[in-house]
């Protein structure tokens, strides 16, 4: 798989892996990582909501998506036990997670609360 080149201000959720997540967390001051899997119905609903938010908040919030089935190390490292699960990183540190699907407005509220 070719290395994903991280653009400065992505307007779509970038695909993350066990290999490149650290690089993304180091590069972006605020990134929300959607842990999902093919087998998870609610995860499939959250995908389009996050794409929407990624477009609306270009330059403010970066969104990433990580398939936990293919990238078990990240899921293990951050203790992901339920999906959908959004891992939220600020200045390279995990500052919180949001478990379960929420409507767009509520989700943004929770994300902004962690953004400070």
């Amino acid at each position: 798989m070719p290395e994903e080149k991280f653009v400065d201000n992505p307007d779509t959720a970038i695909t993350l892996t066990d290999q490149n997540i650290n690089e993304a967390v180091a590069k972006y001051p605020f990134i929300v990582v959607d842990c999902w899997a093919e087998w998870c119905g609610p995860c499939k609903m959250l995908g389009p909501i996050l794409e929407n938010l990624a477009k609306k908040h270009v330059g403010q919030i970066v969104f990433g998506k990580l398939d936990v089935d293919k990238n078990p190390d990240t899921a293990k490292k951050y203790g992901v036990r339920s999906i959908p699960n959004l891992l939220v990183f600020k200045n390279g540190e995990k500052v919180g997670d949001i478990v379960g699907a929420l409507p767009e407005a509520k989700l943004l509220e929770r994300i902004n609360a962690l953004k400070g």
Binding site: G41, M45, G79, R81, S82, D97, V99, L107
Partner: protein, 319 residues
């Protein structure tokens, strides 16, 4: 102005969508943008006729959706905030509001289903996502070789316990009574499964741990002085459901639990509003009964709208 707006994208709503669209009513189905139909989280449905080998809940909903779209159903992903009465050209109509849009319709079909109830015990909220789960198909794979408990004794609890044995080293079913409510074939499978054991007459008192769940405390309902602690890695809770009907408070009559009251024609207490599926007060909440409700609700809505428009097959009637 729609002839009918259907609220909810589960089996009842989508079947209503198929019937309404096929009757050439101008139909819109509004399905939640974030909350999928509960049936999508079921790994295998074995009692929906026509699928002798069973079918996954997610796939079944996909198929219902394709079938409804084929007949011209309009579909949006949005969440209802309120429903209010309005009128158009001298007859009653209903206005449905979401965060960004307002839809008007001569009739409504409510099929918003249910969600899993919480136990409201200490530790449940804190450990949600850290060992407490309400979705076995979503989270089961995280519990390879782990010790799990499943709380509940109905079809969902037993079916999901069986599914979790694909991953877990052991699954203990904790049930408040001394026998299961689940259907016989599921009970037989659970009793025959070497990974499944039971804690009868037991209720969950609290869930404890550090960053993740480590243990649960059970109380004996027959002997409240007796309690025991079990070391576990995960707690799956399937103790019942609550209807997604909050936004219809004051619009249609409900029972004490919030299930919408309907008659055999799926009429609610409000003229022009019909309801069907798991969100209504009924005996058996299953895909097949939800589909039946949806078909009836669509037909009843068609009749109602025809009478309003003066195009009823049976001639002039008052709605």
């Amino acid at each position: 102005m729609y002839d009918v707006v259907i609220i909810g994208g589960g089996p009842a709503g989508l079947t209503a969508g198929i019937y309404a669209a096929r009757s050439n009513m101008k139909t819109l189905l509004i399905r939640s943008a974030y909350k999928p139909s509960l049936i999508t989280t079921t790994d295998l449905i074995e009692n929906y006729p026509g699928f002798p080998d069973g079918i996954g809940g997610f796939e079944l909903i996909e198929r219902f959706t394709q079938q409804a779209l084929k007949f011209g159903l309009a579909l949006v992903d949005d969440d209802i905030l309120a429903v209010a009465k309005t009128s158009t050209e001298g007859h009653d109509a209903w206005e449905v509001s979401t965060a960004g849009s307002v839809y008007q319709a001569l009739s409504l079909i409510i099929s918003t289903g249910t969600e899993y109830a919480h136990l409201n015990v200490p530790g449940e909220v804190e450990f949600t996502g850290r060992g407490v789960s309400y979705c076995a198909t979503c989270d089961g794979p995280f519990y390879r070789d782990c010790r799990l408990i499943v709380v509940g004794g109905g079809d969902t609890a037993v079916q999901e316990a069986l599914y979790l044995t694909n991953f877990a080293s052991s699954v203990i079913i904790v049930h408040r009574r001394d026998r299961l409510r689940a259907t016989a074939v599921l009970q037989d499978r659970a009793f025959a499964n070497a990974k499944i054991s039971f804690e009868w007459n037991a209720v969950l008192e609290d869930i404890t741990g550090d960053s993740v769940v480590k243990a649960v405390r059970l109380k004996d309902v027959k002997d409240p002085g007796k309690a025991k602690t079990l070391p576990v890695d995960g707690v799956f809770i399937f103790t019942g459901t609550i209807p997604n009907t909050e936004m219809f408070n004051g619009v249609v009559d409900m029972d004490a639990q919030g299930y919408i009251k309907v008659n055999a024609h799926m009429n609610t207490s409000a003229k022009g509003i019909f309801a069907g599926g798991d969100c209504t007060n009924k005996l058996l909440r299953q895909v097949v009964t939800a589909c039946g409700d949806g078909a009836t609700a669509a037909f009843a809505a068609y009749e109602y709208v025809s009478v309003l428009k003066g195009t009823s097959y049976d001639g002039v009637k008052t709605p």
